[in-house]
Point group: C2
Chain length 186, copies 2
Amino acid sequence: MEKMRADARRNRAKVLAAAEEAFAVDGLAVPLDDIARLAGVGAGTVYRHFPSKEALFQAVVLERLEQFAEEARELATAEDPGEAFVDYFVRVIRQASLNRAICDALAQSSGHAFKAGAGDDFRAAMAELLSRAQAAGAVRPDIDGDDLRALIVGCLAVERYAPESRHLVRVVVDGLRAHQMAGNKS
Amino acid sequence: MEKMRADARRNRAKVLAAAEEAFAVDGLAVPLDDIARLAGVGAGTVYRHFPSKEALFQAVVLERLEQFAEEARELATAEDPGEAFVDYFVRVIRQASLNRAICDALAQSSGHAFKAGAGDDFRAAMAELLSRAQAAGAVRPDIDGDDLRALIVGCLAVERYAPESRHLVRVVVDGLRAHQMAGNKS
DNA sequence: GACGATGCGGAGCGAGCGTTCCGGTTGTCA
DNA sequence: TGACAACCGGAACGCTCGCTCCGCATCGTC
């Protein structure tokens, strides 16, 4: 990883940058040849650096998810846990909805559970924010980190379906607050 | 459509039944050859009756959507509009989450807006239920029929992502109620 | 029962895509 | 500078899948 030839390291960076751009626009659906062309290299070169298209995709997504985790850690010490949580929730959805790669990654991660530990930082940091908000009485207690991920996936689907009505996320946020929760009839 | 040969009509029915079953399980991703095999006919026969795989899919989905519309019409005269609306909302999501075809159809209908008029019955009947519930003060007023469809798509994504935690739909339902809606800071 | 029209089956075509392979090129180090 | 190993490009392979085509079977009718 370190003792690479100079041109190899350069090409690797070009591939990563091109993949980040292409995946962000079209998600996993973008053909690998397009990425290679965008990077100005051949398809073979891509496979020299990444064992498969999937691996390249995960590399790109993981980088981004790490940023999300970092943001969550910064907010973990905010004075108002409820506000911090909602801010983060809305921000993640807004960011992710602009990045098809994240959408695809989160949406499909139901299956292989996001590859053993990958993105666990993100999961843990978000869970921390959640439990603080719950302890402060700002968010309903019958929700855990996995539920939250599911809700984010759902909000992303909403955003993709109706990009113009941004206020729909607020419906979910209101549902997350700690109020009523009664009136469960069916 | 009526003056078909007896065997042709029989085959058409077999194809439709097979498509309904196959699409329900795997959604649009199922290969057409599988449907043909399941129906016990050749691929050519499928194309004799439906111009494309997409057309066959829409035929299947539309039939199902019509049932949804009918259910909505029955509930339109219920004495408690709020309860009727919530019941319907939950029921549609539960039914649809068991049927991959409906999920795919709703999720992709953002693009071609569900083919000019197709499924309008469903849309209209659901909008009726919504506005009644809003008039009764049971549902927040800043929501229209399209928003509702988007929320359903979102809930379906949640269900697919986390099938075990059924109570997440209740978060959305609580968010739809007519209470607080204040505290909008960002 | 025979004949024309209609319908059927499934091999085959073409396009798209992930992946591999190999002849040629380029960086690196003595 | 020369030589070797590492690396590169992109043609080609194999596979999937939607769709078409055509020789053959089947139905309805006289």
